[in-house]
Symmetry: C7
């Protein structure tokens, strides 16, 4: 059966239903929302992680400094997303609370992966239980634990640890370039440059350097966003 037939049969109406070929179609539709979102690149460098995010040409009525695509979860963890903004805010706020709860309970900063796993678990539940839709966001978390680390969670609540990765629009084309260009041991400036080069190559004429938010999380230093600290 092809897609149209699956739709006519109604297999795509609930996250709690498998289609005859084993797919969960509501999850696949939600992934389309992610692909409609503006894209971000994350790169693990030597002692740092770098995130470069396309914020597209933003409405000039919006206050410039008030929003950037890079969200601080804790001193040592940042997150970007592609998909539904309000869904993402809810999950990022949850991550912040989880991180503070860890600090209060254990008097130490949480490991980035433990935060990522908790958020991924929430996402998984919304793909299995009825009465709600899945969260329509893919998220990338960068953190400095003992070493810099980069994680990506998808709609289903799966997550993996990456050296470099991209989410959002044209993510496949971006990842192809990242696979070619990535080398271990870059410093953060080289990482930012590489990310912008990749965006330039993928976006072509539409590329404008001013349209990107740049976050640098360096070991022992405080978070820099767009070169401010």
């Amino acid at each position: 059966m092809d897609d149209i037939q699956h739709q006519q049969m109604g297999y795509d109406r609930a996250a709690t239903m498998f289609a005859p070929d084993g797919h969960i179609l509501q999850v696949e539709y939600a992934e389309k929302t992610v692909r409609l979102g503006s894209s971000s690149i994350g790169i693990v460098c030597k002692n740092s992680v770098v995130i470069v995010s396309d914020r597209r040409g933003r409405d000039k009525l919006v206050v410039e400094d008030s929003v950037n695509k890079i969200n601080e979860v804790d001193d040592h963890i940042i997150a970007v997303f592609a998909g539904i903004s309000s869904d993402a805010r809810v999950l990022i706020d949850k991550a912040r609370v989880l991180s503070q709860q860890h600090r209060v309970t254990y008097s130490s900063a949480p490991n980035t992966e433990s935060i990522v796993r908790d958020i991924a678990d929430i996402k998984q539940q919304f793909t299995q239980y009825g009465g709600a839709r899945p969260f329509g966001v893919s998220m990338m978390f960068a953190g400095i634990d003992r070493a810099p680390a980069l994680y990506t969670t998808d709609i289903t609540g799966n997550y993996l640890k990456y050296k470099a990765n991209a989410i959002g629009e044209k993510d496949e084309a971006i990842k192809k370039l990242l696979r070619d260009k990535y080398v271990d041991g870059m410093n953060s400036d080289e990482g930012v440059k590489m990310a912008l080069d990749v965006f330039r190559e993928v976006q072509g004429e539409k590329f404008e350097k001013d349209h990107f938010d740049i976050g640098i999380l360096e070991k022992g230093k405080s978070l820099k966003i767009n070169k401010k600290d």
Copy 2:
């Protein structure tokens, strides 16, 4: 697939369902309700925020002073909306309670953004969980914190901070004019004048100056609505 097909397939029957292209159609339908509402303009000026709201030709049986489109949330926060009036009242009352709770708990006025975020979180939930419809309102909050600030929340529960913005009927045309005319550092009278000019240009012959509610929130002064204080 086009819209009609999506409707025939039933993707638009619940806020908990993604359409095959990743859209949540119930949210998009609710946005049409917002576009049917009368419009408001908010403008951040030097030390003040100004809101000008079209209240359309109101039934002369209604008591003039009893209703205006500008709702006081706290001494330093006001809100206007476009969409379903009773939905908006529920959210504005919630904002008032949240604001008072903050004052009681912390003995200080809440930051405008913290109130906006709480209201936006409520809106988000109604687009993700089943058993209820989304709130059919777009809202604009103006506040004086350390500086004047203007926020807008949409149906999905996303919010952004603006220098100037519009909600309701013909919002796109209004915003286009605002982008051309807006300058930083206006005083509140200039802000009101600019808003009325924009309305005059967009409404053409239908424009009547008496049909507008005007709210001015100035740093260190109490809220003025229609020039009274």
Copy 3:
């Protein structure tokens, strides 16, 4: 799409669903029930509020004094409705309880608007949450606070303050006449006369003066219904 199409698509089956044009059709259907109800006029006079209610030709088996369309909520608040009688009774009983609770808690009579808002909030919830239908009533509350006041709530839970208003059958025609005839500062006898004149004009030959319940709430006096006190 026209109405028939909306019905065939099923947008009108639940209060929790928006139609593609942003309307909530269950609410609009419930409003038809209100328009089937017998009509009432409320008029704010100098120091008094007057309500005149068509009780239609009532079954002579019904005990005359036992029922009238004007319901006492508290010493200083009365209510009439158009629509489903039992729905209205539930809401009026709720209003009575809220009023008594206010008296017990604050040792003072509640403001009419605070009671109206609580009832309107209940109505709003029944248009947003699933598992129940909206209350099929429009209600008019008259009260004497510092000054006489008249409020009307619709199905959606919206409410406004009026100088004069009508609900139920032919409300639009009645309101048109009220707009022409209403003047500030009438005494209660003039108010009653005006309401009856309006009914006579709208009902034509069917008009019978005996078919109306008349309630007068005057500042500093006790409620008079059909001239008794």
Copy 4:
């Protein structure tokens, strides 16, 4: 749209749904059940209330004395019904409990109307909330408070106070005759006679005097059913 169309559109499938013309069809269907039930007449006399109930030709295997259509709620309140017997039993048992609770709480007999209103409130809820069907009964309560009183509740939970009334099969024809014949101030024997006369006229050849249960509630006397006390 006519009835058939409403049915094809599914507006008649739940008590929580309004049809496009504002009707709640499940309630109207339930009313048909009431019209299928055997009929009862209630008449308020001087110092007494009389209820005469058609119990139709009952199966001779049923124990004669064990059942009659007239149910004692309290010393001073009786009830008859038309519709689904088990639904009625549940509500009558509820009325009995409410009456006893009042006696325990206030050390006095409850007013008949307060019991009727509580039962009517229960009925109303079953026409508004989902997950259950409306109670399929119309009920007539007779009581002696300061004066004799007669109340009737319909499916929707509305109730009115009557001088005389009928429920069940051919209720309209019976009520027409009652309107012609009823006079104030009858004694209980005249009341019973009038009710039987009305039944004789409406039932024609099928009328059999033995098929009726007769209840007389007289001020200061104990309840008599079929002339026993």
Copy 5:
């Protein structure tokens, strides 16, 4: 509309739905299950009640003594049923618990009717609330209180007190004979004989005396089933 049409319209899909003619079709379907069950006759005699139950040709692999159709609820109450066996067991177990609770609470045997009413109330609820199907059993309770008594409950939860009655297959034909033959004041042997005679007449050639369970509940004696005590 005829039955087929009702089915096509879906009125028969839930116990919480009235059909346009006022019937609850799920209840009527459940009654068919009862008519498929093997039949029982109950007869009130002088100082005793007799129940004779067709247990049909039972599988010879089943242990003879382990099952009979007559269930002891308490020393003085027995029950038979027609319909779904497991549904009946649940209700009979409930009746046993209710009876023991009464004994513990009041130190006396419960009145048969109070047990019957509690069971009937449970049945009624399953015809009104959604989320479950009605109990698919008709039940006959025989008891010795001050006098011998026989009750029958139907699917809807209605119950009546009988001199003699039948449930299950061909109940109408059996009841017709009972009406002809029943006389007051039989002793229990005459009662059993009459029941077997009726079965013989209704079943014709298929009648086999060994296929019947016979229960005799006599005032002041212990229950005898198939002549054992």
Copy 6:
């Protein structure tokens, strides 16, 4: 109406729905699952009960001793099933817990029938309440109380006590042979031989003696499965 029509009308979509002929189709479908399961024979002998279970040609990768079809519930109770294995495990685990709870509470072994009834009650509930499917298993319990006993529960939660019985594939053919061959007072070896003979006759060429699990529960001895103890 035939089966196909019932299916087209949707009567077979929920365990909470009766079809127009009084059947509960979901229960009947679940019974097909039972008929797909491998079969077991239970036989009551003198002072013992014997269960012989076809475990079919099992995957040689499975550990031989780890699984057999005969499950120990308590020292004196064993159970076999036909149908969905995981459903059966849940019920058998429940039976074990119930048995241990009885031992803890009463300091004695529970009667086999009390365990069977509790399990059957659970099964009944899953055929009456919505939101879950019926348990897809038929179960046979063998126990030694004062005497050896054998019970079978079906999908609906009905249970009967047997001298000998079969569940699963070709149960009707097996039971026919059992009716012919069964005699009272066999010893356990004769019982096992008889069961195997019946299987040989029913399975024909496919019969392989190694494919059967054999359980013997003998009064005063410990359970033997496949001749081990």
Copy 7:
């Protein structure tokens, strides 16, 4: 009826529904998801259990060491899965918690089978209750209790103990080879070699030795994954 017909009738829309032939189609669809997953082989050796898992050609952007298909549940229990990764993570985390709870409660390591049964019970519930979909994973647990053991759970929550087994893509072909090649008493190196040989034979040209994760759990030694410990 064939598959297509079952789909058109809607039997495959909920895990709580049996199809007319007794199958639960949602469970069968979920099994297709499992067959789409990369495959794993488990082999019980002398004093050890070996698991070899195809991790396919993984994205080189993913951090090599961060993920492997073999998950440690406890010192002596490991798990692999085929199907939806996030579903599996939830179950494996649950297994870890259960294992730690056992250690805390009993001060001893849990038996592998007790952990497997708890996880299988959770899986079973999601195939019987509505409001959620079944877990889309098949899982293989290897453990060292008194002896090495290997268990596999399927979608329905059934589990069996194996000498050797495979899950995921081409599991049938792999199991066929395992049945031919498996011998008791191999050491762990022989076991790993055999698993890789089987993969080589089934995958043909696509086989690449580097694509496999290899876990060895040996009695008295700590877990080795890919030869590290």
